[in-house]
Subunit: 200 residues, 2 copies
């Protein structure tokens, strides 16, 4: 305890942020008190307001400060095309690329028997509801290639078996710019399996 | 702009912290809204209060929430021994070692002709005042070994020439645990110059 109590308190709050250790938290706290009065005032207000006003979109589970998120509200987006994601954070990656014109569905987790997380613990029933109300729904499962991701993909595939819905998953393979030498075996195996024909 | 405005605002505030880029700020903001309501409430309050209540100690320039900092208030500390530092942040390093029982004086900068910063731009006159009120003052100049640090050391030496004050600087040399092979020339040169006799 070399600093005044209020400064120590601020440091310990910064340490609650992901990947922020004691040294960084100290730097952040000291930098904070160097900011202008009105900046700190507004930072403090923004923090409180963000927590108060943000919640999940009632359709897709994206984060929003309205009842329905901006993507679900957008009439230009294809409501029949739904990209299924683990977390709402993943949406940003797709939106940045500006290639995807459909909507999203955030599962808020993946099925994981090891962690005792079953299909009822993730945001799946609302996905089924959405699909039931669509004419020609198409699902893109953009889940990470892990045991949990695969388990979730298999489960979704199974429960939608008898429904009129097109399902695809993201392709697995070599990431752009990678050196073949440095690739792990499993990625290489998947890239072979999923190889794409380029001549007739 | 993939997030609600309030979330974007929070992200941009986190980006004002040192070394925090867009990605980290995003992670911090998303983690913030996962915190408990009362935690965010208190974080927000702490931020505002820290800015409002913290200022410089009127004696030494350390950061404090009182008129005079805890170190200057402490009657067990040797008031005749003053360790001169560039920034109040440096105090923490000395306090952590628990070896220093004197007091501090924070210059809040160093003399730097290149940056047009002269002796009157740093917290020097109050140091002279402190020394004038002491019987047998001793100064330890703990300034970094750069052109600015050396310039400041030389200046302090010069203005205190005719006063009854003992002045020393930190020793230069090899840092503990370093490999001789990897040392830069200047450090090695200084370590030779400042070599310490260990036998008669």
């Amino acid at each position: 305890m070399h600093y005044p109590q209020i400064l120590e308190n601020l440091i310990s709050y910064y340490q609650k942020l992901p990947g922020v250790g004691e040294k960084s938290a100290e730097r952040f706290a000291l930098a904070t008190i160097e900011l202008k009065d009105e900046e700190v005032e507004d930072f403090s207000k923004t923090l409180k307001d963000a927590k108060k006003n943000l919640h999940r979109c009632s359709i897709c589970g994206n984060i929003t400060d309205e009842e329905i998120c901006r993507i679900c509200q957008d009439s230009t987006r294809d409501k029949n095309l739904i990209c299924v994601l683990e977390e709402y954070k993943n949406i940003a990656s797709f939106e940045k690329s500006q290639k995807f014109t459909g909507t999203y569905h955030v599962l808020n987790g993946l099925i994981s028997p090891v962690d005792n997380r079953g299909p009822e613990d993730i945001n799946l029933s609302s996905l089924i509801n959405r699909i039931n109300n669509l004419q020609n729904p198409e699902l893109i499962l953009a889940l990470k290639p892990t045991i949990e991701g695969e388990a979730t993909i298999l489960y979704i595939q199974k429960i939608l078996e008898n429904k009129n819905v097109t399902i695809s998953r993201l392709s697995y393979g070599i990431p752009m710019g990678a050196e073949i030498d440095y690739l792990d075996n499993i990625t290489l195996e998947k890239a072979l399996e999923d190889r794409k024909r380029i001549s007739e």
